[in-house]
């Protein structure tokens, strides 16, 4: 009896230990991290791209705002409803999820300034003849839960006499229309447009029916500083064109951006337009950043040096013109260029479509990207080796954004530093195993003697270009291109870059090669190969959840089951009550209750993984308890009487005589319950756990290959369950031998 008690206590201790390990560590770093919830599948606002990295207008905007305003965001893709509920429960700080600002929502949430105009449209199958609402009479229409489009459709369904069917994500809704189960669906215009652009076999049947706008939301009265930061950052991003760039990247046009605030600094007439096609002998004003080593920075003698500076001067020399370098700061330089105050800008500026609207760019002169660096003697070579390790990042850098975006996938932790040197030192001393940094910055650091080495190819690549105002200073641009070509040919370009970056530098030539591997292989095996990383990590999450949950559910179930057969009314009552409650509650409800309900009551957050394990422990444990009880009761009462008549105490009789026989009866039920637990982990996708099912949803949201991806996911489940069944048969055979 004592042993049992000890074991029980041990398990409880384990559980508590686990809970504390997973509990959120608040305010560890000075730079505040906000947890922002979003939808899993709402392209073009949020979706996982080919690399299974979350992107989209919402995600990019949020990250850009965070960078601009100097805070950090932890984006949680949990599904629209789950995100909204989690925010209400205080589990997360804000939601950006293509959420329409509506009066009903404004009762509960405080919204930012609108950041995207939208409207509800109706889409029908490609070959459908339906053009207006009156043709929907008696038909079925697909909707997505909780969207403004669903609200709109429900408001007109009596009038037009159609029925609705509701889905949890857009893809399933589209499929329902594409397959003809439903004749039409309603969704926000940009979302539908994006889906159609990306191959959904639908077409828009109506013009936008309602006008509304999306906003970023926080819980009413809470996180006001975050809201203020968002508004401020959003305004700035719109003013400097970053936001337009983001939107354009996804939807091709910027028409959805609200015009409420002034977008960009007013353009004044160019005052210094070059009239002379011959640049020789002329002096040009070139704007640049204040400090962006190794591209531009002030050296010991306070002279501006760096790749940009040296390159610009070399080209000027090559082409016979003069330059006046003006370190204005990046944003100021861009604006000055637009207004014609300066002739050109060279500032480690990436060439983007958005900027191309306003500027003419030279040929790319440098390719940048985020690289991973490790200590010189380290054996870490790839991201997958980071699992469970600590990785150093610098606040507000592209490297930090990139690291945070992949850290869940590769299972590492990040530790944040305020300057590069501390970050490097953390890796050199071995506290962290790696750090992420822009490739030229990192190369420069290594060149400067930092004892690190770069082990990955640049990710998130971008080309830097020299810019002039659109249509202006074309002779300068031509001279720059010609000079660049000459410098590359005569080796001076390499000299400049290697001066700052060491021997192995990136140049724009290598960029051109790597950019063409874009076409996805959509075959069954192609999909597996492409997504094997995501599938593998989803699979691991599922297995981990299953194993931990089975463990605790079994412990919980056996204890409750034994309580149910032990003498004493209290134990029996408690046992029956626990079984009654947790077996009687749908798993989905229990999961949501624990994840969003408990924090509302207690005010403290529960990590999703813990909530998931607790949910499964209680639910599967209740079933386990029921069959443990049944198994013990199935042992003939004479066995207990005989044992007791010999003078054996209750506990000993139970352990030596009853349990061995009862367990034999229970084994098939246990195996069955393990299989059910494995399958039930899929339900936990509702609270945003990135397990196998959720992984499937995310992959499909990107590539819209529902049938194939669900087949892959189903096969993975089946394979595991087959293995589990074999194992169980083996165990049973051994027990009966």
């Amino acid at each position: 009896m004592k042993k049992w008690l000890l074991m029980t206590l041990g398990f409880v201790a384990c559980f508590i230990g686990l809970a504390t390990t997973f509990s959120p560590n608040q305010n560890v770093q000075a730079a505040k991290t906000y947890t922002i919830g979003t939808d899993v599948t709402y392209p073009p606002f949020e979706f996982a791209n080919k690399e299974n990295k979350y992107v989209g207008i919402d995600v990019d905007l949020m990250k850009a705002v965070a960078k601009e305003e100097g805070f950090k965001v932890n984006i949680k893709t949990m599904g629209f409803n789950a995100a909204v509920q989690a925010m209400e429960a205080g589990q997360i700080d804000g939601v950006i999820a293509g959420m329409m600002i509506t009066p009903a929502r404004q009762q509960k949430f405080d919204f930012s300034a609108p950041y995207y105009n939208s409207g509800v449209v109706m889409a029908v199958g490609k070959n459908s003849t339906i053009k207006n609402f009156s043709q929907l009479k008696g038909k079925r229409v697909a909707l997505k839960t909780g969207t403004a489009a669903a609200t709109f459709a429900n408001s007109i369904k009596d009038k037009y006499g159609f029925k609705t069917v509701t889905f949890d994500d857009s893809n399933n809704m589209y499929e329902d229309v594409a397959t003809g189960n439903s004749v039409a669906c309603f969704d926000d215009q940009p979302v539908l447009q994006y889906a159609i652009q990306h191959g959904e076999k639908l077409k828009l049947a109506t013009k936008p029916q309602t006008s509304g706008a999306y906003g970023f939301a926080v819980k009413k009265g809470a996180n006001q500083e975050l809201l203020a930061k968002f508004n401020a950052g959003y305004k700035k991003l719109k003013a400097n064109g970053t936001y337009q760039k983001i939107v354009k990247k996804y939807v091709g046009s910027t028409s959805g951006i609200p015009k409420a605030s002034v977008a960009v600094a007013a353009t004044t007439k160019g005052t210094q337009s070059a009239k002379n096609p011959n640049v020789a002998g002329k002096t040009f004003n070139i704007g640049t950043d204040v400090t962006f080593p190794p591209f531009e920075f002030a050296n010991n003698s306070n002279e501006y040096v760096g790749i940009d500076m040296d390159l610009m001067r070399a080209i000027a020399k090559n082409q016979g013109f003069k330059v006046q370098i003006k370190p204005l700061g990046f944003n100021a330089a861009v604006q000055a260029l637009e207004s014609g105050q300066i002739d050109g800008t060279i500032a480690g500026m990436s060439i983007t479509d958005e900027r191309k609207q306003k500027f003419d760019f030279s040929d790319p002169y440098f390719q940048s990207g985020v690289v991973m660096a490790v200590a010189k003697e380290s054996s870490v070579k790839s991201l997958s080796q980071l699992k469970g390790k600590k990785v150093a990042v610098k606040t507000g850098t592209a490297g930090a954004d990139y690291a945070n975006s992949i850290k869940d996938k590769y299972g590492f932790k990040t530790v944040t530093f305020d300057d590069s040197n501390n970050m490097y030192q953390d890796v050199v001393t071995g506290n962290s195993v790696a750090c992420f940094e822009d490739s030229p910055v990192m190369q420069y650091g290594i060149k400067q003697g930092t004892k690190l080495k770069i082990v990955t190819d640049p990710a998130e690549k971008g080309d830097y270009g020299f810019a002039v105002k659109k249509g202006v200073n074309q002779d300068l641009l031509a001279a720059f291109n010609a000079g660049l070509k000459n410098l590359k040919a005569n080796g001076e370009y390499n000299k400049i870059t290697s001066k700052y970056l060491g021997s192995k530098q990136n140049n724009a030539e290598s960029a051109a090669k790597s950019n063409n591997a874009d076409t996805e292989d959509r075959s069954f095996f192609g999909l597996i190969k492409q997504n094997k990383g995501a599938l593998w990590s989803g699979f691991k999450e599922t297995m981990w959840l299953t194993i931990v949950s089975i463990f605790f559910a079994t412990v919980f179930g056996v204890i409750v089951g034994l309580l149910g057969v032990a003498p004493g009314k209290f134990g029996k009552g408690l046992s029956s009550t626990l079984i009654y409650i947790f077996r009687g509650m749908p798993l989905l409800v229990l999961a949501l209750f624990i994840y969003t309900g408990i924090p509302s009551l207690t005010g403290s957050k529960i990590p999703a993984f813990i909530a998931g394990v607790v949910t499964l422990t209680l639910n599967e444990g209740a079933y386990t308890a029921a069959f443990v009880k049944g198994g013990i009761e199935a042992v003939d009462t004479g066995q207990m009487e005989a044992a007791r008549s010999l003078g054996l105490p209750y506990g000993k009789s139970m352990r030596k005589v009853i349990l061995p026989q009862g367990i034999k009866i229970m084994v098939p039920s246990f195996i069955n319950q393990f299989i059910i637990t494995l399958k039930d982990t899929s339900i936990l996708s509702i609270i945003g756990l990135l397990e196998l099912t959720q992984t499937g949803k995310i992959i499909i949201a990107r590539n819209l290959e529902g049938f194939k991806v669900w087949t892959i996911i189903a096969l993975i489940y089946l394979i595991v369950i087959t293995l589990l069944t074999w194992l169980s048969n083996w165990v049973q055979r051994r027990m009966n031998a």
Binding site: D636, G638, Q639, E641, A642, A643, R644, S645, L646, G647, L648, P649, K652, K656, V657, P660, Q661, K664
Partner: protein
Amino acid sequence: MSLKVQVTDLNKSFGSNHVLKGIDLDVQNNEVVVIIGPSGSGKSTLLRCLNRLETPTSGKIVIDNVDISDPKADINRVRQNIGMVFQHFNLFNNMTVAENIMLAPMELKGETESQAADQAHKLLQQVGLDEKFDAKIQSLSGGQQQRVAIARALAMNPDIMLFDEPTSALDPEMVGDVLEVMKDLAKQGMTMVVVTHEMGFAKEVADRVIFADEGKILEQGKPNEIFGNPQNPRLKDFLNKVLNV
């Protein structure tokens, strides 16, 4: 002769069913008491009260000067001194013959495996089944199982043995072997309380026969008095039915 068991005004109810109605019973040391009576008379319940497999509703049961009806009594200790044999044998199905016998001595007396095994061999020899030492329970016939059950009950060296219809579940040809073992025990001077329908056994072995019906002891005496000169009309009726089949 000293008093081994003393039952005073024992009552037992299962819900509204009053099964034992004020039983008084003394058993002397080395005495063999056989309880007879029709089904449902409460004989088995009376027997099961003696080692508290049933908790009495009221009344007092004193065994070897220990009041076992007192909830504070160390019943596990008292039970080690009382062997019990069940109608359905109740051998532990998850153990071999030897393990059944060795369990209690090893768990309760701290005997080593070899000590317990030696004793198990002796007990199995006593009941004529030593060759079944390592056999599985499921491989034994009913009669063999019951003899193993007796050996198991003897393993703690009890000085009282309770038999609850030990031959009722057996095929007729098996009954003899079991009764032989019980007769041997009686000859060795074991105090025995036996509930049975084996009138032959009662006549031959019992020091005293008790006739119980409807929860009361209606008549008791030496076997020749009970079988030769029954007084109570219900006893006469009962004997008529069982003896003149």
